[in-house]
């Protein structure tokens, strides 16, 4: 984090290299077409864009190394530390919401649980949490499930 753009640059370069590898190993994705000379194949664009991403990612990484930590993005104050905890809990909450929905196939149940959870994480009062959950659940049920006939099946 304290190396500026080094890590993000490396990640972009790895992504570019990964795309190049996938394109190279796939028999369908060729640079040129089988039919006529000079006509591009299905792998043409992924090759070009993978290379572009690899080059720009490396450039970003090198620039990050040369800056040698002069650019700091994450100045973690005690407040940010607290915020990161809430953010982490929210991300986990959404992931659990999707997992429960996928496993149980009960969309409304997972919605109710998530609405309760996120309000607890965001430190809202008990009354607010219950009222909010009821209103949001009824809103989604009435507008999307009854009104627009969305089944929310997975």
């Amino acid at each position: 984090m304290h190396k500026g753009d080094t890590i993000p640059g490396l990640l972009f370069a790895l992504l570019g290299a990964f795309c190049l590898c996938v394109t190279y190993t796939s028999p369908m994705l060729k640079f040129g077409s089988n039919t006529s000379d000079g006509v591009p194949g299905a792998g043409f664009f992924p090759y070009i864009m993978g290379s572009v991403l690899l080059i720009f990612g490396l450039a970003l990484m090198v620039r990050g190394i040369r800056q040698h930590g002069t650019v700091t993005y994450m100045n973690i104050t005690p407040e940010i530390k607290g915020n990161m905890k809430v953010l982490g809990l929210m991300v986990v909450g959404v992931a659990l919401y999707l997992a429960i929905w996928k496993i149980t196939e009960q969309f409304l149940v997972s919605l109710v649980l998530f609405a309760l959870y996120e309000n607890v994480v965001l430190r809202r009062s008990k009354v607010f949490t219950i009222v909010f959950t009821v209103i949001m659940t009824v809103f989604v049920w009435a507008l999307f499930m009854k009104g627009f006939k969305v089944s929310f099946g997975v």
């Binding site: 996938v22 000379d37 993005y73 929210m90 919401y97 996120e118 965001l122 929310f152």
Partner: protein
């Protein structure tokens, strides 16, 4: 488009449902715009999936109402608590808040509504006047030209949107690579699907937008929450100064209108440049107006004229952004990028065909934009003093609502759980992009225009049997190629020039 088409389009809009959805859009847009942190882009991203269930006219009535109202409503918080509701209302805070402190808050809110209306109407009239001729011109475009137009759009997003060019290039390339996922557009073979059936159709653009601008924005706001600043805002709301009268006098209107008419024309041109949104327009117009105005020294310290200029400039980009979107298929800003996705969902492709095969609907969009301006003028003036109440909604309430709507909305587009997962992944990525200062515009544009870019490039190379000079031997394509080069080289040249200048001064 003939007079008959316009009349028929107008007749199609004279439905109670259209008016109802237009006003619903205005209400939602005013709410979203007035809340700091919620942008018009986020509003459009969340509401777009809902509009797919409506008739296309009703859906677009809602989106047009939301967009126009959200831009003007961004000025409400800028004026009352010195916090721009949307990036486009930054300059409104510079003059609006001092006016509020002087006891002229009502007048400031009135100026915001009236001149946002003026900017919006003039730019839409420009859209009506110039869209058809530009669309007619595009009929001469072939694969090479469309490739260059798409490349120009992405390069402008990287060059004009500001920030770091190298990071913009990485994001643009990443976006284009994402557009490669799915079935190849020419040879119809699978690419990067990893045997996941739902990836065969590619990565849908709207869930990515909802992820980055909706849930991702909520995550970012949670990450950067500043309780001290929140407490200061609450204190400012409590201050509750007198607002005074809302409407400017006839003399004031006469004094400001000519300048604002020029500003609205300039804003329309700025809006037509891909990536140059309301924020850039407002800063350029406000800065230039300050230079040339007799009361330029008052700008930034509570100038009514300065506020009128800012209000005109941010709504003035709307028509311009729509010109490039409807004629070239290039989004002028992030909102028009989502609107392209909406049009595609309704089976329409922006470009020349919008003015031939869907001429009536194109006219309806333009009329709806005019109606939206009129509606927010009426609603905005009638509720100017009440609108301050919107600010009392706590941020965690908004976060909780938005996160649920993002999940529901991203599912509703295609009834696909994969879309929800994609939205969630991009929400997490969105936080990292924000923390590490990576611009999201090039990513979004790369994903949106990647398909156009690739298919037209390959089509052009097929037509020329692999001859790359095909792109520069055609006149329009060559001009666009030079423009792309200049867009990329300009920031590099400027950086070298600035370095030399700094070295000389030292």
């Amino acid at each position: 488009m003939t007079a008959e088409t316009w009349l028929s389009a107008l007749q199609g809009l004279l439905q109670p449902s259209v008016i109802l959805y237009l006003f619903a859009g205005i209400a939602i847009g005013t709410f979203i715009g007035a809340l700091p942190g919620l942008s018009a882009t986020m509003g459009i991203a969340i509401m777009t999936p809902i509009t797919f269930w409506l008739d296309k006219t009703d859906g677009f009535a809602m989106l047009m109402g939301l967009w126009n109202a959200a831009i003007f409503a961004g000025g409400i918080t800028a004026i009352l608590i010195n916090t721009p509701g949307t990036p486009a209302s930054l300059t409104q805070a510079w003059d609006g808040y001092p006016l509020y402190k002087q006891g002229k808050g009502g007048l400031a809110l009135g100026i915001n509504v009236i001149f946002s209306f003026l900017g919006g109407v003039v730019s839409i009239l420009m859209l009506i006047l110039f869209a058809q001729p530009i669309a007619d011109f595009t009929i001469t475009f072939g694969a090479a030209e469309y490739f260059m137009v798409a490349l120009f759009g992405i390069s402008m997003m990287i060059g004009v949107a500001g920030g770091d060019v190298l990071k913009g290039l990485c994001m643009g390339a990443f976006g284009i690579l994402l557009s490669c996922v799915g079935i190849d557009p020419i040879l119809a073979c699978k690419r990067f699907t990893f045997d996941i059936t739902s990836l065969g159709a590619g990565i849908d653009f709207i869930p990515v937008m909802i992820g980055v601008f909706g849930l991702g924005e909520v995550f970012s706001q949670i990450y950067s929450r500043n309780r001290e600043a929140e407490a200061a805002e609450v204190e400012l709301r409590r201050t509750n100064l007198a607002l005074g009268r809302v409407l400017p006098t006839a003399k004031q209107m006469k004094a400001w209108t000519p300048r604002c008419l020029i500003v609205s024309l300039a804003a329309t041109v700025i809006g037509a440049i891909p990536a140059a949104g309301g924020d850039i327009s407002a800063i350029i117009c406000w800065g230039n107006s300050k230079k040339f105005s007799k009361e330029g020294d008052k700008y930034g310290h509570g100038s009514e004229e300065g506020l009128a200029v800012s209000s005109t400039a941010n709504n003035g980009v709307i028509g311009g952004a729509m010109i490039t979107m409807m004629t070239l298929g290039l989004p002028g800003d992030s909102v028009t990028a989502i609107l392209i996705g909406s049009l595609m969902m309704y089976g329409m492709t922006p470009g020349y065909t919008m003015f031939t095969e869907n001429a009536e609907f194109t006219c309806q969009i333009m009329i709806l934009m005019l109606l939206a301006c009129m509606a927010f003028l009426v609603v905005g003036l009638a509720t100017a003093k009440v609108s301050a109440k919107v600010l009392n909604v706590a941020q965690p309430t908004v976060w909780a609502c938005v996160s649920i709507l993002c999940v529901v909305g991203s599912y509703c587009i295609n009834n696909s759980f994969t879309d929800v997962v994609i939205m969630f992944i991009f929400a997490i990525l969105g936080v990292f992009f924000k923390v590490f200062n990576f611009p999201t515009g090039p990513l979004v544009l790369g994903l949106l225009l990647g398909g156009t870019l690739e298919s037209n490039m390959r089509r052009a190379l097929t037509l020329s049997v692999g001859d790359w000079s095909y792109f520069i031997t055609r006149p329009i394509s060559c001009v666009l190629f030079v423009a792309v080069l200049l867009t990329f080289l300009w920031p590099i040249g400027k950086a070298i020039w600035d370095k030399k200048k700094a070295a000389k001064q030292n």
